[in-house]
């Protein structure tokens, strides 16, 4: 009975945490299903369909362009050898560190009428006014598609490359012996065998695209994400914002279903135990240079040029960008990021430990529940978090009224809301990292410790925690980085006196003055490079 009591302690904690962290999602679903909202009806009658169309077109366009970029890159990287391949393998993932709004700003600056590209063209061709020539407008839906795809293609590149590496070369070789050219075998064997991974990556890209607020807002492309923001700040209608979020949840659900559906047959595909470290095709001459050029152009456009422009801003405007505001915002961001990292690794460690000691199928549910927030776009999440916190705040105030006390907006008007929102959104990252570290600890260590008289709590403290040290650090770091980068939720939830590095940078982007926040922007990019280092290291270890 003692054993059962001890289990209940962990159980109680895990289930209550799981339910608390998933509460915003349930509140959101409940709120979005509530009766009519005037604002929503008005939006429905007027612009909502345009927003939905724009969102779907944006997602479709980004997925298509990501395929065009990432599939050839993945194939070249997994199967071919060509000059610079080793460097491109990690360098081509660098764009992931670049927030889309930064790249959007940089290219707008470069390609605008007053930008260096058009100025140069006018000088070369002796054009004098806009009527003399046609030049595409980047601040459009296609422009947003290109910008977002340039940042998100690495997801597909990474996942497709890994999938190809895990397939046996024999399949491609067999297809070639049966008369297929490399090009044909790419389409008929490699792509077909990896379609599960491709769909999974595209689902991820779709979710990230839907979550994007900054780029579409900067380009004035109205999507569902901007609609949620505008409804909340324009009409102060939480119900309407929740209903729009509900529409987004539906799209999200479709993306997740597509991902699940694509995985249903994955087990039948041939997989080999290791990964291929050799190349199947050794490219020479013209082909080798074509491969190198393609990789170089993508890397140049997606990372090197924006990075150089940011560096140029930082150097040119150093005096104005290096100021106390930078440190003050960095400190605010750090404070929130550290708090969220610490809380999330504590919660995740205890929940994963419960999974481990309970060893039952249902013990996975609290972790899954707690991780649901990760799928929510930042704006949707912000609305979802506001709903229960508002209810809680109102209840506390109502209860305190008889004592003539009032906590005011202690929850929704303070940094607590942001911390809760980040916890809900990024708990899943900590959970995943800690779960994978826990799996590596042999269950016999637990049994050994218990047979030597240690309780479950002592086993956690004396055996697991020392062995999890690296996993905990990785988890904390990953959550920290995401918190530093998160923008839409912070924009919606920040109290008056709070400014994070990301909101500070975006403010300057919106005011067309990124130069003045260029050091903060560079800092965000550099922080974003850290997880790429880990991914690259783990890829190297696998091969």
């Amino acid at each position: 009975m003692n054993f059962i009591f001890k289990l209940s302690k962990w159980q109680l904690f895990a289930w209550s945490t799981g339910l608390l962290l998933s509460a915003p999602l349930f509140f959101l679903i409940y709120e979005s299903l509530q009766g009519d909202s005037e604002v929503f009806s008005h939006l429905w009658d007027t612009v909502l369909w345009d927003y939905i169309t724009n969102t779907v077109l944006l997602i479709f366009g980004v997925c298509l362009l990501s395929c065009a970029i990432a599939l050839p890159l993945g194939w070249l990287s997994a199967y071919c050898s060509f000059p610079g391949k080793k460097q491109f393998e990690w360098a081509l993932m660098l764009p992931l560190a670049m927030p889309t709004y930064l790249i959007a700003y940089v290219y707008t600056d470069l390609l605008d009428y007053a930008g260096p590209v058009q100025i140069a063209l006018r000088e070369w061709f002796d054009w004098h006014s806009p009527t003399d020539y046609w030049f595409f407008d980047i601040r459009t839906l296609p422009g947003a598609i290109v910008m977002i795809a340039l940042v998100l293609y690495p997801y597909l590149f990474l996942i497709f490359k890994t999938a190809l590496r895990e397939q046996s070369f024999k399949l491609v070789q067999a297809s070639q012996l049966m008369g297929l050219s490399p090009w044909q075998s790419f389409f008929k064997v490699s792509i077909v065998l990896s379609r599960g991974s491709i769909v999974a990556a595209l689902a991820l890209i779709s979710m990230e695209t839907m979550a994007d607020y900054a780029t579409v807002s900067y380009f004035a492309v109205s999507t569902l994400t901007t609609a949620v923001y505008d409804t909340w700040f324009g009409y102060y209608s939480l119900t309407a914002a929740a209903k729009i979020s509900g529409v987004m949840l539906l799209l999200l659900f479709l993306a997740l279903m597509a991902e699940r559906f694509s995985r249903r047959n994955q087990a039948v595909f041939e997989r080999q135990s290791g990964v291929n470290s050799e190349s199947l095709y050794k490219l020479k001459g013209k082909h080798a240079w074509l491969a190198t050029s393609f990789c170089s152009v993508i890397l140049l456009i997606a990372f090197i040029i924006p990075m150089l422009v940011l560096l140029n801003y930082a150097i040119t405007y150093f005096d104005k960008a290096w100021n106390t505001a930078f440190f003050s915002y960095a400190w605010q961001s750090l404070k929130v990021a550290i708090t969220v990292s610490v809380i999330s690794i504590i919660l995740a460690t205890l929940i994963v430990f419960y999974q481990r000691v309970a060893k039952q199928g249902y013990s996975l549910i609290p972790g899954r529940l707690a991780s649901t927030g990760y799928a929510l776009p930042g704006t949707v999440l912000a609305i979802a978090v506001l709903l229960p916190l508002t209810v809680l705040e109102n209840s506390i105030n109502a209860a305190l009224e008889s004592y003539n006390l009032d906590i005011g907006l202690l929850l929704t008007g303070s940094i607590i809301t942001i911390i809760v929102a980040y916890l809900v959104r990024f708990y899943a990252i900590a959970h995943g990292a800690i779960e994978s570290s826990f799996v590596r600890i042999s269950p016999s260590l637990d049994m050994a410790s218990q047979s030597m008289g240690k309780s479950q709590g002592q086993t956690l403290r004396l055996v697991h925690l020392p062995l999890l040290r690296r996993g905990l650090l990785t988890a904390a770091l990953l959550v920290f980085i995401e918190c530093m980068k998160e923008l839409p939720a912070a924009l919606l939830l920040r109290p008056f006196d709070f400014e994070s590095l990301a909101t500070h940078v975006f403010q300057y982007v919106s005011d067309e003055q990124l130069e003045l926040a260029s050091i903060s922007a560079l800092f965000i990019v550099l922080v974003g490079l850290i997880p790429l280092y880990f991914i690259n290291r783990s890829m190297e270890q696998r091969s």
Binding site: N2, I4, M447, S449, Q450, M452, G453, K454
Partner: protein, 348 residues
């Protein structure tokens, strides 16, 4: 009083019945081996004893005290059991000395150090205290594991296939060594294995498990000579079944003549089968044409001191070693003779 007693233990999960009405007794200072094929429930029995799973029916007693039944459950940390795992389960972040001291509880630092030194001496690892598990060989890691499991003087030691990761060349040397250590500490032990050679070398008593039950418990010699069931007979060594009828208390007729038993038996049925092991079979030159008791040599293998011949008897293939100097050719017809022994008769 027995050290461990399992009575009618039942365990099932998600529709799988793993242990059925299992009874097991381990005496003071006795080493019992749970022997059986993979999936027969050996490790589950060990976990039930250790308290790592909760049984559904039956009871477990340690030193006469009930530690597990329908109403009682003593958690693993309060059972005073030492356990040695297949992968040794040494804590990689702790040194050898810290691993051994892990279960020593609230005693002074000096006492802890003293006990660690005693244990290191017992397992011949003096001087390795500061090393970490990854700096030791497989055999050394195993010695640390046994030292750690014995350090806090457990009532009972459980060993889960501890020799499966050890090189066959040094395995039996190590088995003898670990047995010496356990006997020196006067601890009762339950040892799980699927290898009968390991079981014979390590244990005082064997408990053969089959489909979640103890099929038979006894000394290795008893079980080998007088198996109660066909499963026990087959598990302990290769053999063939011959149709047989009971003639007298010591005689059985078979298609290969009358087989003499060295011990008297009483059987309720007349018809059945006898289980004949290869070392009870003798091959002899066939001097008579069309002898119905002759068999053909299928293949032969030289093992140094003699040849081992494969023959088919009653539609079952068996390898029989010939006597030194005896030699037969492939396809040659030979006569089968069955030597007098303690015959294992099973009723049909």
């Amino acid at each position: 009083m027995s050290r461990l007693n399992l009575q009618g233990v039942d365990y099932h999960y998600s529709g799988t019945h793993v242990l059925h009405n299992l009874d097991l007794t381990v005496g003071q200072d006795e080493i019992v081996c749970l022997l059986g094929a993979s999936g027969c429930g050996k490790t589950t029995t060990l976990k039930a004893i250790a308290g790592l799973i909760e049984i559904n029916e039956g009871s477990v007693f340690i030193d006469g005290k009930c530690v597990s039944d329908k109403h009682t459950f003593v958690s693993p940390e309060h059972r005073n059991i030492g356990m040695m795992f297949q992968d040794y389960a040494l804590f990689p972040h702790l040194s050898v000395a810290d691993n051994i001291a892990f279960g020593l509880g609230k005693i002074s630092k000096v006492q802890k150090q003293q006990r660690v030194e005693e244990m290191l001496e017992l397992v011949h690892l003096t001087g390795c205290a500061k090393r970490y598990p990854h700096q030791l060989s497989g055999g050394q890691q195993q010695r640390v594991a046994i030292a750690r499991a014995l350090a806090y003087k457990p009532s009972l030691l459980l060993l889960d296939e501890p020799f499966s990761n050890i090189d066959t060349q040094v395995r039996f040397e190590l088995i003898a060594d670990i047995r010496r250590i356990i006997k020196a500490q006067q601890v009762s032990a339950v040892f799980v294995s699927h290898s009968k050679e390991e079981a014979f070398a390590f244990s005082d008593t064997l408990a053969i498990m089959h489909q979640g039950k103890i099929a038979q418990q006894g000394t290795p010699e008893q079980l080998f000579a007088v198996p109660k069931t066909k499963e026990v007979a087959e598990f302990l060594g290769q053999g063939i079944y011959l149709g047989a009828e009971v003639l007298t208390a010591t005689e059985y007729t078979t298609p290969f003549g009358v087989v003499q038993s060295q011990h008297e038996h009483t059987h309720s049925a007349i018809k059945g089968v006898v289980y004949i092991r290869p070392h009870h079979i003798e091959l002899a030159q066939n001097t008579q044409a069309d002898n119905p008791q002759s068999v053909s040599i299928l293949s032969r293998r030289f093992i140094g001191s003699a040849y081992v011949y494969t023959v088919v008897i009653a539609e079952q293939e068996i390898e029989v070693a010939a006597q030194y100097g005896q030699s037969f050719e492939i396809n040659e017809q030979v006569i089968i003779k069955i030597k007098p022994h303690t015959v294992n008769f099973f009723e049909s």
